[in-house]
């Protein structure tokens, strides 16, 4: 058993109930600092040895009017002593700093869950703004829950009185008071948060101290049992998780991907990455993150539009750098023609798609997995590319590296399909041993002997990469079809047929250079396999785990590689009577699987702007196992 080396929180009071895991959601107005509160609470939980998974949920509007439902900002923290794989199906404890926050979030609270709310904010005006006809504290609507109605504003103002802040500044400390209380409720240390507050507000006068005071006051409020008696417990203990030993930090998918790409760049030996992007939700944070990697040879270029971004990445690749472009669905749609050029000219390129709900503008801040088809087929003509997807925030690191390796080795565009959930979700990450990471040096041809642009490596079928500036290798390439043997422009019939096959075959051969598909859980054959990809990993894992716990004969496999498929996938699938493919789209991977393999695959499809709930998948597993084989196969 492993243990965090950090000082343990003070022991739980005798009345504390032990929990395996808890989901806490902090909700308030956009201006209430809920993202900060949640992030700090999550980090503190992780530092105290829990496994965690966090997810922010903020409004589409930049700064919606205070008190409105569409201005509610929330942050969810799932932490526990066990493998925490999702941000949690249901909320156990909701901290709501105003009526709108209550209204928007209460539906996600489990029956019997706890609501901590700031009674001071439940004014008639705020209730009206939230659209409450009557004060929910006065009627039966909250009956299914345990309510802790606290005068948080009053308490906070009292706690920071000494620091002579403006009322606005003083009220802004409410989030710290709330964290303080929450840390007490879950029996957590608070020193790291105090340190962070002091650093963050350094040089801003009293603000740091006021925030610390509010934090301490919230904690003390719990400690000194000023808690109103509700007949229910409001204090719990969560044991530390058993994590493999190592140095840890929390990481979001965006950070991990930025670092993965940068790490891949280093391993490739290339001098420079040109990361060309046009801002779009939820892809912009990757641009922001990579802007900070300048010291690692990363140049970020904010282009005039998505087409220019794709083109700049292609130009960079032609110039011998690592060309990366990033966007979300609508922006990727614009890049299709340009990516086709990289397919035709056979240039390495990485295309990151942070998927969001669509069609069209859709729901820009919400997650979805609906751009798989676009990645596979969203270009003119037969233009095969490689496609891979991370499963978790931390997995983004490896996927970023893998994309660099394959793009440069096979001279091909590689799509990375991440999504709004992975981009924003965070979890603990055991830092890799950087020195032990394999390197995969990209090669540039310098020898003019026998050179023509589309001469191929017999094994990978990749053409040589030549850096302009190299004497003797001057050549012209483009998007027009080339003769396979001479590289001259060619309209020859059989040649085009052959080149079309070569382009497909080259992508297929990537399968010889990637890991075979593993079974995540369960037997390697049986009545049912749950086959997933991308950010559904957490929910599927938990669902399969629970089903297996309940004795159901189900296995799990999760695809990192969506094209080409791992070469053992046909055999692996053949071992199962049925395959269930849960996706946050209307059925995309399931269609490719059905078309590619002789397998009775059925989809489980939900597009609600967030990943599956575990129980949705559990239910589908049960249904699939109970269904007649024939039916399942349709």
């Amino acid at each position: 058993m492993s243990k965090a080396s950090l000082p343990q929180a003070n022991g739980g009071s005798p009345s504390r109930e032990r929990l395996d895991a808890v989901v806490v959601r902090f909700a308030g107005d956009s201006g209430d600092g809920m993202q900060t509160a949640g992030t700090q609470f999550g980090i503190q939980a992780a530092l105290s040895g829990s496994d965690i998974s966090t997810f922010p949920d903020y409004p589409a509007e930049i700064r919606a009017p205070a008190g409105t439902t569409y201005g509610v900002s929330a942050f969810q923290v799932h932490f526990g002593s066990q493998d925490v794989k999702t941000a949690g199906d249901d909320v156990d404890v909701l901290v709501a700093l105003n009526p709108a926050a209550l209204k928007v979030n209460v539906g996600d609270l489990r029956l019997g869950g706890t609501i901590v709310l700031d009674t001071d904010a439940f004014s008639d005006r705020n209730l009206a703004k939230a659209g409450y006809a009557a004060n929910p504290l006065d009627d039966e609507s909250l009956a299914p829950y345990v309510i802790l109605p606290l005068d948080i504003t009053t308490q906070t103002l009292r706690a920071v009185e000494a620091f002579e802040l403006s009322t606005k500044e003083a009220t802004r400390c409410r989030n710290m008071w709330a964290i303080g209380l929450a840390l007490w409720m879950f029996d957590r240390e608070r020193q790291a948060t105090i340190n962070w507050v002091q650093k963050k507000f350094e040089g801003r006068g009293n603000i740091a101290e006021a925030n610390v005071a509010a934090l301490n006051a919230g904690h003390a409020f719990g400690e000194t049992a000023e808690m109103p008696s509700t007949g229910a417990t409001a204090a719990w203990t969560v044991d530390p998780a058993e994590l493999p030993p190592g140095l840890y930090r929390t990481v979001s998918g965006t950070e991990a991907l930025a670092w993965g790409l940068t790490s891949g760049l280093a391993s490739s030996g290339l001098e420079r990455m040109i990361f060309a992007s046009y801002p779009i939700t939820p892809a912009s944070p990757l641009l922001h993150a990579l802007t900070r990697m300048r010291d690692h040879g990363v140049v970020t270029f904010q282009a005039e539009d998505e087409i220019a971004a794709a083109c700049a990445a292609i130009g960079a690749a032609y110039g011998g750098a690592l060309g990366v472009t990033s966007s979300s669905g609508p922006g990727i749609a614009l890049k299709g023609e340009a990516i086709g050029l990289a397919v035709g000219a056979e240039l390495p390129m990485i295309v990151v798609n942070s998927q969001r709900a669509g069609p069209s503008t859709g729901m820009p801040t919400k997650t979805e997995q609906s751009d798989l088809f676009q990645a596979l087929y969203g270009r003119n003509a037969d233009s095969p590319v490689a496609v891979l997807a991370p499963a978790t925030p931390t997995d983004c690191f490896e996927v970023g590296r893998e994309a660099v390796r394959v793009a440069t080795k096979f001279m091909t565009p590689v799509y990375i399909l991440t999504d709004a959930y992975l981009a924003n979700a965070a979890e603990p990450w055991r830092l890799p041993d950087l020195d032990a990471l394999p390197s995969f040096p990209a090669e540039f041809r310098t020898d003019p002997e026998g050179y023509h642009p589309f001469i191929r490596d017999p094994e990978t079928l990749a053409r040589p990469w030549v850096r302009p500036g190299t004497p003797g290798l001057e050549h012209r390439i483009g998007g027009i079809e080339r003769n396979a043997d001479t590289s001259h422009i060619s309209y020859d019939r059989e040649n085009h047929d052959r080149m079309t096959q070569i382009r497909a075959e080259r992508i297929q051969r990537i399968a010889n250079h990637i890991s075979e598909q593993a079974i995540e859980q369960g037997e390697s054959s049986g009545p049912l396999l749950v086959l997933g990809w991308g950010s559904t990993f957490g929910a599927i894992s938990k669902a399969v785990e629970r089903a297996r716990h309940a004795g159901r004969p189900v296995s799990q496999a999760h695809l990192r590689w969506l094209w080409p498929f791992p070469r053992n996938l046909a055999d692996l699938l053949a071992g199962f009577e049925r395959v269930l493919v849960p996706e946050n789209n209307a059925g995309q991977l399931v269609q490719v699987v059905r078309a590619t393999f002789d397998v009775g695959a059925v989809g489980l499809n939900r597009v609600t702007g967030r990943p599956f709930r575990i129980r949705e998948i559990e239910a589908a597993i049960d249904a699939a196992l109970d269904a007649q084989p024939k039916e399942a196969a349709r």
């Binding site: 280093a266 690692h296 083109c311």
Partner: protein, 340 residues
């Protein structure tokens, strides 16, 4: 910019082994020659030079050069060239585009490469028509142009490449004519010397779909009276032996064509407008002139007197090669240890 090789190359050394496939008589042939000569004059190297083009007749240009070349997609050459310069700023990059490629589908990229001021040259072959797709109207086609897509004559006002470039903030805006080879060659050398984006509009005759559309000022017989070569610091004279000139009336904000000399109805040379290539509004005024009322201005309309760091220089400044250990960023922020 370019590495020098042992013996300087001649114009012919810049020709590729590919047969040139423009229509016989196309103005592109002359431009090709002009560019090859300019490269020789510049002492460019084959390996250090890259031609990037979009799609169109003009855009086939790179195939006929023995340098590096990238024939990309329609309208996007400026964006691709920008990426290329960021990857490999030591290269000497020339973008070749057409009036459709550069100003129709590619207008946005042209705008942005110009305003960013990436260090490269842009040659826009303006034939006021879509050559490759068989003769449809282009954004530079004049009102009334009859084409398969405008059988009753175009009704859209054309865009003027030089005015557009000036409005976009270009810092070097010049014009040349396909068949004025000497001038073209010299101008390309100037364009190359400019630090930042140099924009050159080249009037190019499409013999098949728009033959003679510039003949009012390119016809050797008429050229003296219908072309004016603008030169910085020099009075604006044209016509046979410079018998004509331009004056400017700051009240009406208009230019006037006058007879130069001392006689009656004549204007002495020192009252002529003097070209100031550092003035954007003057460049705009000169660039707007069209025959028959005015001569067509050729040469450097505008050149920034104090070019600052170009976009590629500024963006790349201080970026080290990749490879630094990631342990610093990874361990920044709070970390904790789980021991066995």
């Amino acid at each position: 910019m370019t590495e020098t090789t042992l013996s300087p190359l001649s114009a012919k050394d810049f020709a590729s082994d590919q047969e040139v496939r423009w229509c016989p008589g196309c103005g592109d042939y002359a431009i090709l020659k002009g560019v090859q000569k300019a490269l020789a004059t510049l002492g460019a190297t084959r390996e250090g030079t890259v031609f990037v083009s979009g799609i169109g007749c003009a855009a086939r240009f790179p195939y006929y050069m023995s340098t590096y070349g990238f024939h990309t997609i329609h309208g996007r050459a400026p964006a691709i060239a920008t990426g290329l310069k960021l990857a490999n700023p030591g290269l000497d990059v020339w973008v070749v585009t057409g009036d459709g490629d550069g100003l129709s589908i590619g207008g946005n990229h042209l705008l942005h490469v110009l305003r960013r001021d990436v260090n490269l040259q842009i040659l826009l072959f303006n034939n006021e028509i879509y050559g490759l797709t068989k003769g449809q109207v282009s954004p530079t086609s004049r009102v009334g142009t009859v084409t398969p897509s405008t059988p009753r004559g175009s009704v859209a006002n054309p865009v003027h490449p030089a005015s557009f470039a000036l409005g976009a903030g270009a810092r070097f805006v010049a014009r040349a004519i396909d068949i004025n080879l000497k001038h073209l060659e010299a101008l390309l050398v100037d364009a190359h010397a400019h630090r930042g984006t140099a924009f050159v509009e080249i009037f190019q005759n499409c013999v098949v779909f728009n033959d003679g559309c510039f003949s009012d000022f390119t016809d050797r017989k008429r050229a003296d009276d219908t072309q004016i070569l603008v030169e910085h610091g020099k009075p604006l004279r044209f016509g046979k032996d410079g018998n004509k000139g331009l004056t400017f009336d700051p009240k009406s904000w208009k230019l006037e064509v006058v007879q130069v000399g001392d006689g009656p109805e004549h204007v002495p040379e020192d009252e002529l407008l003097v070209h100031d290539e550092t003035s954007r509004p003057l460049a705009m005024l000169l660039g707007q002139m069209r025959p028959p009322d005015y001569p067509m201005a050729i040469g450097i309309l505008y050149r920034d007197p104090n070019p600052s760091a170009t976009y590629d220089e500024a963006l790349l400044e201080g970026v080290p090669p990749a490879g630094a250990s990631l342990s610093a960023p990874l361990q920044a922020g709070r970390t904790w240890k789980v021991s066995p």
